[in-house]
């Protein structure tokens, strides 16, 4: 469940190559700095974004990432939406297990990035692809 209101227009970045994953990291860092996340929280949300953007590329066959500033009363945060129209995640519980991978990686991308953010939401189906929304709040 996501909370808070969007502030301003989301900034979008297409994810079609390795270089785009780097651009996603840079965009998320800029917004995380703008909403005054602590250095550790910036590092966590940029790391999570890197993992999820790579998943969008590798498993989703590419897609888009949207970064928005959000607010819930006293706190500001950064919300990132990763969307692809790939094959979807067949077994979500399994995919969220540490060490499980279908792609030859370490199997930490999805499960690990969930630990690094405050809110984590997945919408996935074979028809519409995968949409992951994460939010990190300032403290």
């Amino acid at each position: 469940m996501t909370t808070g209101v969007d502030l301003g227009q989301p900034q979008a970045q297409a994810v079609r190559s390795d270089e785009d994953v780097v651009r996603v990291r840079q965009l998320v860092r800029t917004v995380a700095v703008a909403v005054k996340l602590s250095l550790v929280d910036q590092t966590k949300v940029v790391t999570a974004a890197s993992e999820l953007a790579r998943n969008t590329l590798v498993y989703g066959g590419g897609g888009t990432v949207e970064v928005t500033t959000v607010e819930n009363g006293r706190r500001k945060g950064v919300r990132i939406v990763f969307a692809d129209s790939g094959p979807g995640i067949a077994d979500l519980d399994l995919a969220l297990t540490d060490g499980y991978t279908t792609g030859g990686g370490l199997g930490l991308g999805l499960s690990g990035s969930r630990r690094l953010v405050d809110e984590f939401e997945i919408d996935t189906s074979a028809e519409t692809g995968t949409r992951i929304t994460v939010t990190k709040w300032s403290r």
Binding site: T43, T47, S50, E51, L106, R115
Partner: protein, 136 residues
Amino acid sequence: MERVPILKIGDILLVSIQLDMSDQTAVQLQEDLAERIVATGCHGVIIDITALDIVDSFVGRMLSTIASISKVLDAETVVVGMRPAVAITLVELGLSLNGIRTALNVERGMELIAAARADELDHQLDDDPDAETATP
């Protein structure tokens, strides 16, 4: 694609990662380092990540792989300069950096490699009955 430069200092290869690496650049570095270890016969590799503001699972795996490859090629790898926020994030992500030695800075990394090398040479002497025993 950008490439990460590899410097040779005495018996050590020094890699200071100064850019936000794409995955391809990271894989290229792995291959370049393996080649340089063989070409130079160096026994130590220091990877300085002071400038990296994140280490995700891909870069973490690259560091572990480099350590394993260099081990097979008779070189010791030490990762130096990890930022505190990066260390905290790595642990929370669940990455254990298996088989990687770390040191706080390049200087300590060089000491660690020198000590590991001295130990190894001692053992080689111990194993060889004809060699003169090293004075304690």
